[in-house]
Amino acid sequence: MATYNKHILVCGGSCCTSGNSAQIADNFKSTLAEKNLSNDVQVIQTGCFGLCDQGPVVKIMPDNTIYTHVKPNDVRRIVEEHIEGGKKVEDLLYVNPITGERVEDNKEPNKFHKKQIRIALRNCGVIDPENIKDYIAHDGYMALAKCLTEYTPEQVIEVVSASGLSGRGGAGFPTGKKWASSARAKADQKYVVCNADEGDPGAFMDRSILEGDPNSVLEAMAICGYAIGADKGLIYIRAEYPLAIERLKIAISQAEEMGLLGDNIMNSGFNFHIELRYGAGAFVCGEATALIHSMEGKRGEPTFKPPRTSEKGYNLKPTNVNNVETYANVPIIITKGAEWFSSIGTANSKGTKVFALAGKVNNVGLIEVPMGTTLREIIYEIGGGIKDNKKFKAVQTGGPSGGCLTERHLDIPIDYKSLTQAGSMMGSGGMVIMDESSCMVSIAKFYLDFTVPESCGKCTPCRIGNKRLYEMLDKITKGNGTMEDLEHLRNLSVVIKDTALCGLGQSSPNPILSTLDNFWDEYVEHVQDKKCRAGACKDLVQYEINPAVCVGCTACSRNCPVEAIKGELKKPHQIDNSICIKCGTCITKCKFNAIRIK
C-alpha cells in the first residue's frame, strides 16, 4: 500500500483540459513511474482552480506551489527539479497579480487569485445550520450583543449607513437610509420584515443563506429592530422552500431558548420576537407593498408609494423591509466595522454580491464576489468558462426584470449603476449564462411568458401590455413577425416601463429592450429571413441529414415519434420536414452527428 508524501494536483477544469491537462497528468504519471516515485507521489486531476486564463495549472502539495501555463514537456523539469531536487521551477511559478512577483508558497493568506470573498455566505457550508452553538462559535450574536451594550440605536444606523450597504434585493436602496426612515417614524408598533420570497427564476441565493446560516438573518433582524425601535420581526418566505423553513424554525427556537431572541435579550430590556409568514406562489410578492398585503392575508397586489413601507407598512405601521442577503451582511458589518466593509467594492457600490451562476457555464454555483468584479472574471475564472467549449453569447442578470448583456459588456466592473447603464440590472442575483444555442428572441419570450401570469393583473399596462408583448414575440418566433411589430415592441415596452404601477411592471420589458438593443440583427433575421440562427425556434428551422455522414443505421427513423424519417438500411436517410415536429430526438440518437439544423 502506498503512503504518499506528495500530491500533484492537475487542474481538470475545461480551460485547462483544452490546454491538454490530461496529457500533463499522464506525463507526470509516466515520469514518476520511470523514476520509481509512483508510491511516494500521487497525481490527480481536480476541479477548476479558477485560474482559467493562466492554465493549465498544476499544484504541488503540501508545498502549496502553483505552476501556471504548464505544458506537457514542462513535466520532466517539475519532477526532476522540484519533486526530486526540492527546488521550485522559477519560471512557471504563479505570479502575484498585484506585486508582479512569483509566489513560491501559495498557502493562505496569499489569496490573490481568489476572485471571491464570502461575507454574506461566510458561514454557509462552514457551520451546522441546525446548531446555534456552531454559529456562536463563529462569533454569532456578538454583533447583537455589541449593539445592545455598546451602541445607541442611532449609532447602529450610523454604522450601517457608513458601511455603504445597500439593498441586495434588486434596486440597491441604501440600507442605512431605509432604517433611519423607519426609526424616524413615530408609532406604537413597528415591524422588521425579511423578504425571503425569492422568486427570480434562476436565483437561489436567499434559499442558500437561510439553509446554511439562518441565525445570521435572525441576528440582523434583531439588530434592525433595536435600531428602528421594533420588537417584532416577520420573515416572509416562499412555501416552496421547506428546508429553509424548517431550519429557520429550529434557529428561532434555539435562539429563544438561549435568550438571544425573546424578551429582555441579554438583560438589555430589549425585546424581539420573530415569526414566519408563508408566501403562496406569487412572484409579485417580492415587491415590498405586495409582500405586506400578502402578510396581511390579502391578494398580493402592490399599492402605490408613497407612503413608503418605512412609514406605513404592515398593518399600516412603520415597517423596515430588507431581503435575506442584505440582512446577512449586517452582523459582520457591526463586528468588523463600517470601514472594513466599505473598503470592499467600488465607489458606488460597497461590499460583495452573491450570484447564482447558472446556465451554460461549467461551474454552476453560488458565488460571492466584490462589487466591481467583471462579468468576464465571473464567467471564465469562477465559472470555468462555457460548457462544452461553446461560444459565449449572452449573460442575463436581474431575472425577469433584468436584461441580456453581451461580449462587449464582459469587462464592465459590475455594480448597481454600471449594470443599469448597460441596460440590465443587478436584481437579486440570478446570473444565467447563454451560449450560441440560445435564441435571444426566445429568451425574451421566455421571460415575458413568466411575467404575464405573474403580473398581479392590477394595472393596465402590466396586465394587458405584457400579454401583447408576449404575443408579438410569439408571432416573431413563429416567423410571422413584421418590421412594424419590432417597432411596436419597442414602443409598447417603453410605455409599460413608463406607466406601470410597481417595479414588476416597470421592469418587465427589460428583457425585450436589452435584446432589441444588443441582438437587433437576430430579431431582423427572424422577421425578414424567417431564420433562427440558434436553431431554437422550431417553426423557423429545418432538420437535414447529411448524406455524406449518414451510414443508414436507422437509429433516427426508429426513434422518430412521427415517422418523418425514411430510408433504407445502410443507405443515407431523409427527413420529411412537412411531418417533422423538430423534437430533436433524432439528433440525440444519431451517433454520427449526421443530422443538423439549418
Binding site: G202, A239, A280, G281, G297, K298, A358, G359, C583
Partner: protein, 158 residues
Amino acid sequence: MSHIEINAEKLNIIKDICAQYDNRPSDVIHILHGVQGALGYLPMEVQEAIAKQLGIPVSRVYGIVTFYSFFTMEPKGEHPISICLGTACHVRGADQILEEFKRVLGIGVGQTTPDGKFSIDCLRCVGACGLAPVAMIGEKVYGRLTPNMVTGIIEEYN
C-alpha cells in the same frame, strides 16, 4: 344554489386549523396552507367553511385562492409532479423534460392521470438551479434530468 355538505371530520380539521390562528382573518393564507396540506385541495365548500370560521366573505377567500398559484381547487395526483421552468432549467432543456412527462403519462399540464396517481404542474423555480433541469415529485427533487430518465422515475412510483 344549495350548500354542498362537508363531512364533520373535514369540518373539524378546518376548525382546528383556524383555531390555531385564533380565527384571525389576517392569517388566512397560513390557514389555507394548513387546510390544503391536510385535505389536499381547496374546493368551494372548504373555502366556504374557512370563510365562516374567520367571519369574512367567501369572495375574499376565493380571491386569494385564485391569486396564489400554490393553492388549488382541483385534487392533485397522489404523486404530484412539478417541472421547474426557471431560467436555468429552461436553458438546459426543461421543456423537453416536460414534454416527456406529458408523453409518458398521457396528460397535460394541470391534469391528473385517470388512476389519480400522477398530476403534472409547472413551477417557476425550485432554487436548485445547479441541478438543472429539475423536477419535483412530492417533496423529492430530481436533478440533472434527461428525457430518457423520465420513464425510470415514474416507475419508482408504480
